[in-house]
Symmetry: C2
Subunit: 348 residues, 2 copies
């Protein structure tokens, strides 16, 4: 038998080579979440719609989209190639975080994938793996993928709608913060922004030390603190949201919804910035800009009455104050106006 | 005071000129559905997630995306320009149809919009109007828009996730058809395909007679028969789906899920094709290809036990037969193999 000789480099098969049914056949087996024993999905993929349990008669729902070259680049200036696993994980993380921020637990996801014809099938399989790994490893133990939709486009786009349950409890809104409340943070802030800066730098991935690489990894695969949302609700949090667009920007949303001033503790901010030094010193960046303006870590910002013992994972980083007459809701640092920043899809 | 003189044609403002908050401020007021008095949304836009009532402890959920140049063109060969209203209406219709096909009633939608920077703000406002008009005019009287997400991309993409309620009843699946069942259709089939052919023709819109224009309008703003789904469930339908990809293709899905043969009545098919003659004679097309292969009318295909009186809006168009030994599930016409067709996102 002659040796197999390749005269041209073999290309991995792209989605254009498969029918919709064939591609779904490659994806579905990877969406199994057998370890999640208390799944709420009553009817999964295969019909026109799925059916999900909502035992307390209410469903929490959110939706979030990632678009190629807007929310991720397939290849970054520093050479990193975004894997399907990254995009799937991030889709899970972002959406699970929105449910977490209400004090709820995720029960189900439906996924709409828009793929370019040249997307490698492997990349899509990897995305399915990342989605299930995100759900599993972040601890959304009652969640599974209930269904989805598949289509073609000129750019990759991944939309997830996520359902959750409050288990009979109330939702924690943005609007309940009161004067005198403690402001507390769960999870990290600025790490994903440091990672984004590393991805957009010319420092090669191989040159990163582990304590720098960790920020890049968190940008690609965020780790929202999923136990913290229901814990905050249980401890009596008066208001909560997740920090997806930056501490100042999301803080202002909470302050505005509640009609209060949010004052950040300068020492706590410095401590949060210090953690980012391995990246900021490499890039010559002020780490405080990442702390105040960086989104995508999906930490939780919550307010608690002053007498409450903060639940595990939360650190006090400021306080809530009443608005003076003629004052607008704002975010201040040690009483001084803080420069607003963060991500705006259209203005930036 | 000098007269205001315009030396260049004024462009309508595009979304790039607005911040995310400003654009949301233009959209939200248009999502009000005050006429829908029994809305299930308990907490609407403004927090990290919405909360929707699910009184019987179950939520039906589906998701669907429309992408520019795949699912619609901003300008068609015949000169028609797709309005934001069309895209919003179609997003509502497609998603409401998926809930209808389960025998359920829609309770809520969340919407993720990806917009190009040059999209006119008016077009987006129009989309919001079309979405609410679709929900209202198609009769989804308990549904409202509970929230959404906004982002930027190189092409317009609209994803809707829709929730529904079964009101304590079971869902009608694709898998329940039995030998001897009557096959019935509610709504139209082939009309949207005739409309698509008109849009892709060079026959100017102004040259269309009203009985031709109606197909174009149905392609742009489908009218799924929303009362028919719950009625079919109530009447004892054994299986159901909506025809989004064509009668043969969706019929085969039902036949496959149920493990049966679906036989279509030739006289009924001819009657369905005859209705399309105003368009088929203009374009010189065989109208049967639209009846068998055309999707997007979002009619319902359902099976009923033979003794059942079909609910209002359903017409018998065939029957269900047991598989012979060594037979695979199939769709036949008067016992003869029917050519499969219809829409495949990747194969076509």
């Amino acid at each position: 038998m002659p040796e197999k000789r390749l005269t041209v480099q073999e290309q991995p098969p792209a989605v254009a080579a498969l029918s919709e049914a064939e591609l779904l056949g490659r994806i579905f087996p990877r969406l199994s979440l057998k370890g999640n024993h208390t799944q709420a999905t009553l009817l999964g993929p295969g019909d026109d719609a799925a059916v999900v349990a909502a035992p307390d008669g209410k469903t929490v729902i959110s939706i979030d989209t990632q678009v190629q070259d807007q929310d991720f680049r397939l290849e970054w200036p520093n050479g990193y190639r975004t894997t399907g696993f990254d995009v799937g994980w991030k889709a899970a993380a972002q959406n699970l975080s929105d449910i977490n921020a209400m004090g709820a637990a995720a029960t189900s996801m439906v996924v709409s994938l828009t793929l370019t014809p040249e997307t490698p099938v492997e990349w899509v399989e990897d995305l399915a793996d990342g989605l299930t790994a995100g759900i599993r490893d972040l601890g959304a133990a009652r969640c599974s993928v209930a269904g989805g939709d598949l289509g073609k486009g000129r750019e990759i786009s991944v939309t997830v709608a996520v359902l959750g349950t409050l288990d009979g409890n109330h939702a924690v809104l943005r609007s309940g913060a009161q004067s005198g409340d403690v402001l507390a943070l769960a999870g990290t802030v600025g790490h994903a922004a440091a990672g984004l800066a590393l991805l957009e730098s010319t420092v090669a991935i191989g040159a990163l030390r582990p304590e720098q690489r960790v920020f890049l990894d968190l940008q690609c695969r965020p780790r929202p603190p999923l136990a913290a949302g229901p814990a905050a609700r249980g401890a009596g949090a008066t208001a909560m949201l997740d920090i997806s667009d930056g501490l100042l920007r999301d803080g202002l949303r909470l302050a505005t919804a509640s009609g209060v001033t949010m004052d950040l503790d300068a020492a706590q901010l410095r401590a949060l910035a210090d953690v980012l030094r391995p990246a900021s010193e490499l890039l010559g960046t002020d780490p405080m800009s990442w702390v105040l303006g960086g989104g995508e870590d999906h930490g939780l910002l919550a307010t608690f009455p002053p007498h409450v013992q903060l639940p595990a994972g939360f650190t006090a980083i400021g306080s809530i104050q009443a608005l003076g007459s003629n004052e607008s809701p704002s975010v201040t640092t040690a009483g001084r106006s803080a420069d607003t920043g963060g991500w705006d899809h259209f203005a930036h």
